[in-house]
């Protein structure tokens, strides 16, 4: 513990927006790059796609680590609580909803937006789970701060 250094002001909304913005920008560039340069047959196209996506993930993780180190301990606690209770709870609810919908798919047709091929349905299910997770996370995060006001 070094008490002689004046503490830095923790990151606020601007830091969060910067992290999301950088991650989305780099992800978009990697996606565009892999669509343009990776769309060729053979190992070269695959290698270009893998390198671009790996680079985007590296930048995204670096941005997240910078943001995580910049927020204060209560903000971290809120995010950890939201991740466990909100994210896990949302995923559990989403999983049950998805299973219920799929079990009834024989008698109750799926919406057209879900797609028809197995791959489309799989991707739609994964995206639905992520959305449930995010919704649970957001609710739990807001709940933590409301409770600790």
């Amino acid at each position: 513990m070094n008490g002689s250094v004046k503490p830095k002001r923790p990151l606020g909304l601007a830091g969060f927006a910067a992290t999301i913005g950088i991650t989305m920008l780099v992800g978009g560039l990697a996606g565009a790059g892999s669509a343009i340069f990776g769309d060729q047959p053979g190992a070269v196209g695959l290698a270009i796609t893998v390198v671009l996506i790996a680079a985007a993930f590296a930048v995204g993780f670096a941005a997240c680590i910078w943001w995580w180190r910049g927020i204060d301990e209560a903000a971290r606690e809120a995010h950890k609580w939201a991740w466990w209770w909100g994210g896990s709870g949302g995923m559990a609810v989403g999983g049950v909803v998805l299973l219920t919908v799929m079990i009834r798919a024989d008698t109750q047709p799926l919406p057209a937006s879900v797609g028809t091929s197995p791959a489309d349905i799989f991707v739609s299910g994964m995206l639905a789970l992520v959305l449930f997770q995010l919704a649970g996370y957001a609710l739990a995060w807001a709940g933590w701060w409301l409770k600790h006001r």
Binding site: P7, P10, D72, E73, A74, A75
Partner: protein
Amino acid sequence: MNNRLKVLRAEHNWSQADLADQLGVSRQTVNALETGRYDPSLPLAFRIAKVFGQPIESIFTED
């Protein structure tokens, strides 16, 4: 855990934002500490004690 943060801050005539700046936390965190709804980590408790120039046990007490 109870604390005397609000009283001490008032004695120094500091706003929550002033105290937050000195501790390196957000104003929301200072508010959560003052209302007793968030217990600080040991490093933060030490920083609080140093800012007010008092021992930890004179600022924080058990319920």
